[in-house]
Each structure stands twice: as structure tokens, then as C-alpha cells.
């Protein structure tokens, strides 16, 4: 069973990886992805922070379904998904996915799948904060829909 957390506090990839692999000797590869708050490119309006809103009654279940699908498709030996919400400053961690498998390709593919599906199937919304105090809601990208569609439903 995957570990799925939705939380305001930061996560520790070292501690999460250690917890995932403790007592396992059949894991050969661990794929991870961390998403972080990135500054706007120089030609765009400067961002100071993000606020992540989510749908509390739905989020945990949605992430658990995505993780269960990854575990099933790649016979994972471990899977962790942690997504933060609330206000997150530039450079802050947003999301962590970890997938452990017997072989590297499964671990890496599962990590890609987890973040691709999470981007289009987990109820989070990003709001950008600008230097002057203005805010705007981030629009969904068609490239994210395309990435998720690589892994057919």
C-alpha cells in the first residue's frame, strides 16, 4: 500500500526513501521526482510565492487511486506520494513521488506516471503571488494533458 500524505509542512526525501526501503531486499531501483516552486522566466512577471488550494475531502482519495494504479501497472515494491498545500515560497518543495521496483525502468516509469497523472487528476489549484501583491490562478497546460494521455486510462 502506498503512503500518501497531503500536508502543509515540508517533506524530507532522505527520510521518505529510507522509510520506503526499510526491510526490503528485493528492491533494485528507486525513482523519485520532486516538484519545486520555480521563479518566473526573466521575460515574465516576477512571482514571489504560490498558494496551493485543494479539495480536502477528495485529495487524499484521488492521490491514493493514482498511487494504486502505479503499484498495479509496475508491480511496485513501494510507493510514496506527498503533496503540500498552502503558501509556498520560491524554491520550496511542492510534491514528492517515490517508486521502488525490482528494476530501474519500472521505478523510473512509475515515477513519471505518478507525476503526470497527479498533474491532471489530483484536485489542486495553484495561485501565483506577484511582487505588487496581485495574484492570479495558474491555467492548466495542454502539455500536461498530453503527458497524462501517454499513460492511457
Amino acid at each position: 500500500m502506498a503512503k500518501v500524505n497531503v500536508q502543509t509542512q515540508d517533506f524530507d526525501i532522505g527520510a521518505e526513501t529510507a522509510a520506503l526501503t526499510a526491510g526490503h531486499t528485493n528492491i533494485g531501483g528507486i525513482g523519485c521526482f520532486i516538484g519545486t516552486v520555480r521563479a518566473a522566466p526573466p521575460d515574465q512577471r516576477a512571482i514571489t510565492a504560490l498558494t496551493l488550494e485543494h479539495y480536502p475531502a477528495m485529495t487524499q482519495r484521488a492521490l491514493e487511486k493514482i498511487a494504486a494504479e502505479a503499484e498495479r501497472r509496475w508491480s511496485l515494491l513501494g510507493c510514496t506520494v506527498i503533496h503540500r498545500h498552502g503558501r509556498l515560497e520560491l524554491g520550496a518543495n511542492i510534491v514528492l513521488v517515490i517508486a521502488a521496483a525490482a528494476h530501474r525502468q519500472a521505478a523510473l516509469d512509475a515515477a513519471s506516471f505518478l507525476i503526470d497523472w497527479l498533474k491532471t487528476k489530483a484536485p489542486f489549484w495553484k495561485q501565483e503571488h506577484f511582487l505588487d501583491g496581485a495574484t492570479t490562478w495558474v491555467e492548466a497546460k495542454s502539455t500536461d494533458a498530453d503527458a497524462a494521455a501517454r499513460w492511457s486510462d
Binding site: 479539495y55 507525476i115 498533474k119 484536485p123 489542486f124 489549484w125 495553484k126 495558474v138
Partner: protein, 88 residues
């Protein structure tokens, strides 16, 4: 006995435009689907009308499961409206 009300939730810019995050409402019996509900809600206030102005960019869930606008609703359901998700 009256039917149980719907719980309607709004997120992100739908919440801001509607001016509320949650409300309990009992629509008339003629409101059978999410699409019917959107039409009915849009007439309640200027904020509701603004929230539902661009239906192509509105996503919805019934009882915490994504659904299409054609999905049927029933008394007591939790109905959520929100923009396309942008997490991760």
C-alpha cells in the same frame, strides 16, 4: 419530508467569483444533472453568473469523484465546481 439539500463547493477562481466556498441548496426537481444545476445556479446572483460564465473551463465532481456535466445528481450529493487542476 423534504429532500436532503445538495452541498455545493467552489474552488479557486470559481470560489472567488461566486463569493463563497460552500452553500447548501435544494434545487427544484427539474434540476436532474450537473448541467441543469449550472443553469439554475447561474441565475441566483451576479457572482454565480460570473463563476459559471465560461462553462468550457469548469470541471466538476459528485461526491469527490470527477464527473461530466451530463452526470445525474440526487438529493444529499456533494457537488464541487472548480477550474482544471494545476497541482504537482
Amino acid at each position: 419530508m423534504n429532500p436532503a439539500p445538495l452541498t455545493i463547493l467552489y474552488f479557486a477562481w470559481l470560489r472567488e467569483r461566486a463569493g463563497r466556498s460552500e452553500e447548501q441548496l435544494t434545487p427544484p426537481e427539474t434540476v436532474r444533472t450537473i448541467a441543469d444545476l449550472i443553469t439554475w445556479l447561474s441565475q441566483r446572483s451576479a457572482g454565480h453568473a460570473a463563476a459559471f460564465a465560461h462553462t468550457a473551463t469548469i470541471r466538476c465532481a459528485i461526491n469527490q469523484e470527477f464527473c461530466d456535466p451530463s452526470a445525474a445528481i440526487k438529493p444529499g450529493d456533494e457537488i464541487a465546481f472548480f477550474p482544471p487542476v494545476t497541482g504537482g
